[in-house]
Assembly symmetry: C2
Homo-oligomer: 379 residues x 2
């Protein structure tokens, strides 16, 4: 027994009551004893990804959030609009742990050989409930980090790296040869750019600020289109024609951009059309919405024929589809290139209590590129 | 040589000039001599399908259309708004023949055995340029109608029947067990209802008027939801839960309905959910937009998780995907059940010149259920 492991420790919880009230708080939970095939990990670093915010905030209006409680134990409350409560039905009155991924040190191990082998190792994990000081998890779910990697280096080694690799893999499996990415200056977007440069895959980056264009260009990106440019549609069409990209991954979800990408793909394709088809080009054009940076409705102006698709894309569904062997290959690449291709950077490090401050929520809740927070649960 | 066949005959043409002017007129074209493997068909009946209107009108504003010329040779003109000219680029300054399908009598045949065998037969055809008095076509593209069928009986025996059968076939091939259809009181919708009753497939019909509910119910439809009902969303959810439908075919395209169908599918699925998933149910929900009754933007409120898809659906793409043998099976079923399952009805019969009258355009151009026109080119 490690004497420094307490009997109880902090865990962040999100609760939406039937009344529509959201309450986010820190609760004292028992530190579990690992079963034979499990290990106990002292979590040292866990990122706030856009994909965590759905569970953390639900559909609550965070602009009107309030904080009460003490500095060590803040309680954030906010209200879910009544019209959004239907989509919250599945979680009402359940106190939910949060946090998709994290990294830390194995401080206690079950009796199995696999678990014992991890004792003292720095590992990365995915599986929820990572916004906590300790996490008990199956040994097989841990990814051992390279010797020289810290928990901060490995905290984001599942969601973003596997999503970026999954996009390129999906592109290949669905018969496309180049791809489009939006919100492309994000940590994920920078990774995707590095993967595409390395694998020689055409990538059209879409961003909304000149500084983001400059950042990606400085990292070797060949095609970067700025939605704020007056010539955006023409520039995007040009880049699509040059790369031949007919699949896009959109992090934003809301607004007109997903449809505009299809419009420009069609315009690029019809440049080479031999004769007019009233149904548009026969090349299938696909946009996957993998994020919800903008939760407003998606508006599609359908001027791109009938050979198109739009749909949700989810890392876990993708990993299930390709099977464990193919997924393991992707994970091994991530571990190998953790400090290069898959390096993440954070704008701020905060404690668990710090994550419940309105000033912090106002920043990381915006899901803005360049504002990525890392929680250090023992600070 | 049949002495009654003229040297030239009328053909309807649609032209969009670079200036954006649409001109629809009747032109005198030479009646061609069939090649060895071709036949010449005197077209007796050809329907105006919603799928014809895209080519006929382009993106022109038909509310402001004008007619000039004589009663026998009217010329319709209208203007394509400048913002829509990009999607017309492929057809600019080309005089296009129109009309997807039709039926008539083979009046002249090429030297091949297959062509000669058709002489005097009543046949149905698909392939464009049917808004004309004569059509030369490959013998193998003709479907011989049953002895007791008139050209009017067979005029609509491709687009609607194969589309309706294609929907059920797509449902099966993509792993769904029941389906949703919108604008469901149309000729196509009534066919689909008869197919589903016969094949014992669950069908949720969506209409927008009580009279359409009554019509479908009188034809044995079990689930009919009216978008004008104040309880529409709840009623649709109920019907989706009862049938288990997770795929929809939408004729409308614009507005909120395609997204609402996904929302209600998700609500029906989450009734049986064991535990909350922040990403929504894992059952794939699909909406295919196969029509353009409403050309306004599609607005999707994404409150149905990540397991969803939306996309275009096109009969010709579908037929290509299933291959000639499977397509032939579908065609044989249509011929066999032409006067029962696949019977069409028309609100009006008009001549070629009659199709170019503003009063007629105002009706059939609305793509409204129950207002289906049949052109009789020799009237």
């Amino acid at each position: 027994m490690n004497p420094r492991i307490p009997r109880t420790a902090l865990q962040l919880r999100s609760l939406i009551r039937r009344s529509g009230e959201l309450e986010i708080s820190l609760v004292e939970v028992e530190v579990p004893d690992p079963a034979a095939d499990e290990v106990l990990v002292r979590i040292e670093a866990t990122p706030i990804n856009p994909s965590d915010l759905g569970l953390l905030f639900g559909a609550a209006d965070m602009d009107a959030a309030k904080v009460s409680g003490s500095a060590e134990r803040p309680i954030v409350t906010a209200q879910v609009p009544e019209k959004s409560m239907r989509s919250m039905a599945g979680r009402v009155d359940q106190s939910m742990p949060v946090g998709n991924e994290g990294a830390g040190v194995v401080v206690r191990a079950g009796s199995s050989v696999a678990a014992q082998a991890l004792l003292g190792k720095t590992v990365a994990m995915i599986g929820g409930a990572m916004y906590a000081q300790y996490r008990c998890i199956k040994a097989e779910q841990c990814l051992v980090l390279p010797e020289d990697a810290t928990p901060s280096d490995g905290a984001s080694c599942f969601v973003n790296p596997l999503t970026a690799l999954g996009m390129v893999e999906t592109m290949r499996r669905e018969g496309h040869s180049a791809l489009v990415h939006t919100a492309a200056a994000s940590n994920l977007g920078q990774m995707l750019n590095r993967i595409c440069l390395q694998d020689n895959v055409g990538l059209v980056n879409i961003v909304r600020k000149q500084a983001q264009c400059d950042l990606l260009t400085s990292q070797g990106a060949k095609y970067v289109c700025n939605t704020e440019s007056p010539g955006f549609m023409a520039e995007l069409t040009e880049a699509l024609a040059a790369t031949g990209a007919t699949i896009a991954f959109d992090a934003i979800g809301g607004g007109r951009l997903p449809g505009q990408i299809l419009t420009c793909m069609e315009a690029a394709l019809s440049r080479n059309a031999q004769e007019y088809s009233r149904y548009g080009s026969t090349t299938h054009k696909q946009v996957y919405l993998y994020g919800m940076l903008d939760t407003s409705p998606t508006e599609i102006v359908r001027n791109f024929g009938f050979s198109w698709g739009m749909g949700g894309w989810l890392l876990f569904t993708f990993l299930g589809k390709i099977g464990p062997a193919a997924a393991q290959k992707l994970r091994e690449r991530v571990a190998k290139e953790l400090k290069t291709t898959f390096a993440s950077s954070y704008s701020n490090e905060i404690s668990l209590a710090g994550a419940l401050q309105l000033a912090a929520i106002a920043v990381y809740g915006k899901r803005a590129t360049g504002a990525k927070y890392l929680i250090k649960p023992h600070q």
